[in-house]
């Protein structure tokens, strides 16, 4: 029976050297929204095995660094952004998932406003890819991307997190187009607008879109005050009859 965890670190180290053969990493699926498309930030892999393939942004976890901190660090290093929405999704740990050795990776997704992030993309070999045009990635990163996208899809219907992908002021069309691109569906305009007004998630800022070649729409901002910490809490009006 494996009771390794029930021993002291000294016993562990001496009896079970073998256990310290695994490295831990984090990989971030960084979503952005631009030109009416959901995009993800990728980097060219410089590992021989995956020459010319793109991969997610990741790094090994340092021994003195919390797992969460590692993913925030990767984001900060790559995007320069500090205050981002970040959520853990899943840990991938197949023995052969990394050709260079045993690496167990924890995947996260992040939502950023692409406009906030003005990096020298080329210099770092970073690139924003439309999510629905990605067919292969290095390592098991396509599977990781798919898993994170699925999680994002299920979260946005319950929690007001999409606003992290938008500029402070946005039109209802931009918002709808964002939902449509995440869900890969079309939504009815009137019903979409009605729903959002009923939910009371939006505040009319009394401004209009600029530079659109048609009648400009009104601009709104996210009604953060409705949510306890002003950021990404949920809005569940119904509590009773839990079984659906």
């Amino acid at each position: 029976m494996g009771t390794a965890l029930q021993k002291t670190i000294q016993e562990l180290r001496s009896e079970n050297r073998e256990y310290f053969q695994i490295a831990c990493s984090v990989d971030c699926v960084i979503f952005g929204f631009d030109e009416n498309e959901l995009k993800v930030l990728l980097i060219k892999s410089d590992l021989e095995e995956f020459q010319d393939q793109w991969s997610l942004l990741g790094d090994l976890v340092k021994p003195d660094e919390n797992l969460d901190s590692a993913s925030y660090r990767v984001l900060k290093e790559r995007t320069g952004l500090d205050d981002v929405y970040l959520e853990q999704v899943h840990t991938f740990g197949d023995v052969n998932r990394h050709p260079a050795g045993r690496v167990i990776t924890t995947a996260w997704y992040s939502l950023i406003n692409i406009k906030d992030h003005q990096l020298d993309l080329e210099h770092n070999e970073l690139h924003w890819h439309p999510v629905n045009e990605i067919t292969t990635l290095a390592f098991d990163h396509k599977k990781i991307l798919d898993t994170c996208l699925k999680q994002l899809q299920s979260r946005i219907d319950e929690h007001p997190i999409v606003f992290n992908l938008l500029p402070e002021k946005f039109s209802l069309r931009e918002l709808q187009s964002l939902y449509e691109s995440i869900h890969a569906t079309k939504l009815d305009r009137r019903n979409f607008r009605k729903k959002f007004f009923l939910m009371d998630w939006l505040i009319d800022v009394n401004e209009l879109e600029q530079d659109v070649p048609h009648r400009p729409g009104k601009l709104y901002r996210f009604n953060a005050a409705k949510f306890s910490d002003g950021k990404v809490k949920e809005n569940k009006p119904k509590v009773e009859e839990a079984v659906h």
Copy 2:
């Protein structure tokens, strides 16, 4: 910039010895349902720091073992059960979460039919604890338990997974009582029954409860055929208008 993952394992090993200082473990929250209560299987911690406290069942991941396999192995070793429902929930990786050293753990929950599992509980210092009576556990296991319970709560409304906690034949009262104990709420009997009949998840086996001190209820079994792989897929009748 940390690009450790972009190198070969040889480079990693030589340049970054420090990275191989982290151990990986799995911890399983094993749920069972007995005497109208949701219970979880715990073991007495024999680590000095947590003397007389209970902890989840876990073990270190072996270098040549997939992460998934490690959690199945823990379950098999502890319960003797092979074919169980097991879902990954979250990975906990704070630097100081384990007093014996740096251990990053991936938490899973499992649903088993307590009757299938006839172990010498005492001999292994294993014990079934009512979930809602647990206030503290060793390590960060209380937090892990809470996280897994929350995940279980949100899953059961969308996926027919609770049947993994029940014997093959069960009454509607047992089923309702199970939902109630997971959600820690009371449900209306008539509405509950109507919902399940409409969902068509149940098959009447034309038998009655035995040995109950009142009018016996009819017994049902889970309509596994409704779900593609016969086990734990979802049942989503609505596809349109994704934003709620």
